[in-house]
């Protein structure tokens, strides 16, 4: 690196700090998804039809949205297993308000996002200031959120949810130029998060915290406030995701909402090349990981295979994706030592 002579020192230093804009993992994922889409297009009659791709993109949205927050959290070396509980609380409170007082779209979205942010701040403060491992903190708050969620459900389903959220991806109201609005929102937020992680000091600090929290603190990074914010952002993203889940569901909401989302999201994040040990990761990879998982589950159904088989493929993809990442990392370290 030192041998490089560039006329603009500012660019050199930035280029030296920044990781490559596109990682190897992302290129591979794009390739795998493209191959899968082509194969599924050949072997199934309707995979590439708009009637199939549209819902697929809408269904990617909740996992990808929560995945943005989860990527931030995992980059700092943490984890958040409470997202399913948060999603349930956001969805059920918003649904109840929609049914009882018919709040307009923007208010409903705000309610969901603010609730998500508040629940996320509970996680954030406990993780940052209690110095207990995040997985334990969020196990605890997961149970807490489930309690709040089930209480709000009050042992029944929420029925007659109005079509306020249709603009997020249901029917004709939910698409712009053929692209589901939910997916457009995902792409916009992923782009913003990518820019934030790469070009702002606060974003790059997250990598420093995940690489070595103590060293980050000694260089003057306010580790604890940053951690709180990371969990708050996750909650906010869950709030947005809950609205998409309400939009893509039926007019009634049952108590299984959000069930198992935490593992789905973590799977998408790690397939996308984010290191579970912290310090390395990308939101673009997370979006691609979510796309891959959704492609597999739609593809398995359209091929007429048992739908449960898709989870087997997800497991295999996790092993392959992370295995490739481990091998690349090893090779990178070896070449780094030689030079």
């Amino acid at each position: 690196m030192t041998s490089r002579t560039d006329s603009a020192p500012a660019t050199v230093s930035l280029r030296r700090i920044l990781p490559p804009a596109v990682t190897g993992q992302e290129v591979v994922l794009v390739g795998v998804i493209a191959v899968l889409w082509v194969l599924l297009g050949i072997f199934t009659p309707s995979f590439l039809s708009p009637a199939s791709v549209g819902p697929l993109l809408v269904n990617v949205a909740p996992v990808a949205l929560i995945g943005i927050g989860m990527t931030f959290v995992i980059i700092t070396g943490g984890i958040d297993v409470s997202v399913a509980g948060m999603a349930m609380v956001c969805a059920v409170v918003t649904a109840r308000l929609l049914v009882s007082v018919e709040i307009p779209l923007i208010v409903a979205l705000l309610v969901s996002v603010v609730i998500g942010g508040i629940l996320g701040s509970v996680n954030g403060f406990l993780v940052a200031y209690a110095r207990v491992h995040p997985i334990i903190i969020t196990f605890g708050t997961w149970n807490l959120f489930l309690y709040i969620g089930y209480r709000t459900f009050n042992s029944s389903t929420v029925n007659g949810i109005p079509s306020t959220f249709d603009v997020f991806g249901k029917g004709a109201a939910g698409t712009t130029l053929g692209v589901p609005n939910a997916f457009a929102i995902v792409v916009a937020l992923v782009a913003a998060a990518w820019w934030f992680l790469r070009y702002t000091r606060a974003g790059r600090n997250l990598f420093a915290i995940g690489g070595n929290a103590e060293a980050a603190r000694l260089t003057g990074i306010a580790v604890r406030p940053r951690l709180v914010w990371v969990y708050v952002i996750t909650g906010v993203m869950v709030g947005v995701a809950a609205c998409v889940m309400l939009a893509s569901g039926t007019s009634s909401l049952d108590q299984s909402v959000g069930n198992g989302k935490e593992l789905e999201v973590i799977a998408a994040v790690v397939i996308g090349g984010t290191s579970i040990m912290g310090g390395r990761g990308s939101v673009v990879g997370t979006l691609l990981g979510a796309l891959l998982v959704q492609t597999v589950s739609v593809g398995v159904i359209q091929l007429g295979w048992p739908s449960q088989l898709s989870r087997l493929f997800v497991g295999v993809f996790i092993i392959i994706a992370v295995g490739a990442d481990i091998l690349r990392e090893r090779a990178r370290r070896r070449s780094g030592r030689m030079s």
């Binding site: 207990v132 605890g140 973590i266 790690v270 579970i276 449960q308 989870r311 497991g315 092993i319 481990i326």
Partner: protein, 383 residues
């Protein structure tokens, strides 16, 4: 966690108790749980006398609720083995292993009419194989355990559902197994103590005793704690850290297989989603292990603490249900678990902080505190 400082042991009962209390013994996880259990029982007796409970509170009620402790405590012991090896080890796949092995056992015993013993042995072998896959990927390919077991959680759960097209296996032979989970009267002292579910004696106690012996009386057990505390130091001391970690995952698979057989008996059918429906079995098992004092970073954890934690959770849930029956009660169980888990973690933090502060004081008072401080910083790292 070790609370006794490396000082000379005082002799005599009372000084020893004093030293234990001064060393923060009352904040020891097992002591905390015993106190919570006592509080729970006192509160319940008071509520019963006051007539708040919806049914008469009997020892039989508490004893019968122990049917739920068997799978929880067994899987928590499995997590104890895995988590203790450190380096972020954890097993998210235990619930899926319960589902898959349960289906294998159901097919062999219920559909293929094998001997019980033969079917059980094959089931345990399958469990060992599933655990071996987890361990091999983690220990030899250096996958983070969270990733390995997340992947196998999906894979095993999927296979369990696919092999019978998602339909459960039942039948007369499997229904007869229900006897294994029923409450029984103990021989000799049976008339004087409440009826305890048979599974506690046939499954839980043998595993707990063997696990305790393995952890505390064998070289392998001590190696587990060593690699969990500092795997580099352990490998320099001649321990084959990879093999030890692999074996911990295999043990977790075998214990999951035992739970699978028990679950088939308890529900009188082999269900393909036995360990993964709802919140699944893995997260509650990890919660109980952590509550019982297993440090998520490895190297610390005891069977006694895990059993006490399982007992606390099971009795707490049973108590809640007898005061607040129905859905409201089962909702309240989530809140109670959250409060206990978060509370216990926070108590730990204040505990280790005050210990660190004490160590700092004694260092400044004289040089003798150095060892204690080292032990303390090791303890705080373990949290």
């Amino acid at each position: 966690m070790s609370t006794s400082l490396p000082e000379q042991r005082p002799s005599g009962a009372w000084p020893r108790i004093r030293a234990w209390i001064d060393g923060g013994g009352l904040l020891d996880r097992r002591a905390v749980i015993v106190v919570l259990l006592a509080v729970l029982i006192v509160v319940m007796v008071v509520l019963d006398v006051a007539g708040v409970t919806t049914a008469p509170l009997t020892t039989d009620y508490f004893a019968a609720s122990l049917i739920n402790i068997v799978p929880l405590a067994l899987l928590a012991i499995a997590e104890l083995f895995v988590i203790t090896t450190g380096d972020g080890s954890i097993d998210l796949s235990v619930g899926s292993m319960v589902s898959l092995v349960g289906m294998v056992f159901g097919i062999l015993y219920g559909t293929q009419k094998w001997d019980f013993a033969a079917a059980a042995v094959v089931a345990l072998l399958v469990g060992a194989l599933l655990g071996w896959i987890n361990g091999f990927l983690t220990a030899y390919f250096r996958y983070p355990a969270l990733i390995t077991t997340l992947a196998t959680y999906y894979a095993y759960a999927s296979i369990a559902l696919v092999i019978t097209n998602a339909s459960p296996i039942s039948g007369p032979r499997i229904q007869e197994l229900y006897g294994a989970a029923q409450s029984v009267e103990l021989p000799l002292i049976g008339a004087y103590v409440p009826l305890v579910p048979l599974g506690v004696f046939t499954f839980l106690l043998p595993v707990a005793v063997i696990a305790w012996l393995v952890l505390n009386r064998t070289t392998y057990g001590r190696q587990l704690y060593a690699i969990g505390t500092n795997s580099t130091a352990a490998s320099w001391a001649g321990i084959n850290t990879r093999r030890s970690q692999l074996l911990a995952f295999v043990i977790s698979g075998v214990i999951s297989a035992l739970v699978a057989i028990y679950t088939v008996a308890q529900f009188a059918s082999a269900r393909p989603d036995a360990g993964t429906s709802g919140p699944g079995m893995a997260l509650p098992a990890i919660t109980i292990a952590v509550l019982g004092g297993v440090a998520i970073t490895g190297g610390v954890g005891r069977i006694g603490g895990v059993l006490l934690a399982a007992l606390l959770i099971v009795w707490m849930n049973a108590s809640i249900l007898i005061v607040v029956p129905g859905n409201a009660g089962s909702q309240l169980q989530f809140l109670a678990l959250a409060v206990v888990l978060l509370g216990a973690s926070l108590v730990d933090v204040t505990n280790s902080r005050s210990r660190r502060a004490r160590a700092r004081q004694s260092t400044s008072a004289g040089g003798a505190g150095g060892v204690a401080e080292m032990a303390d910083s090791a303890a705080s790292r373990a949290e």
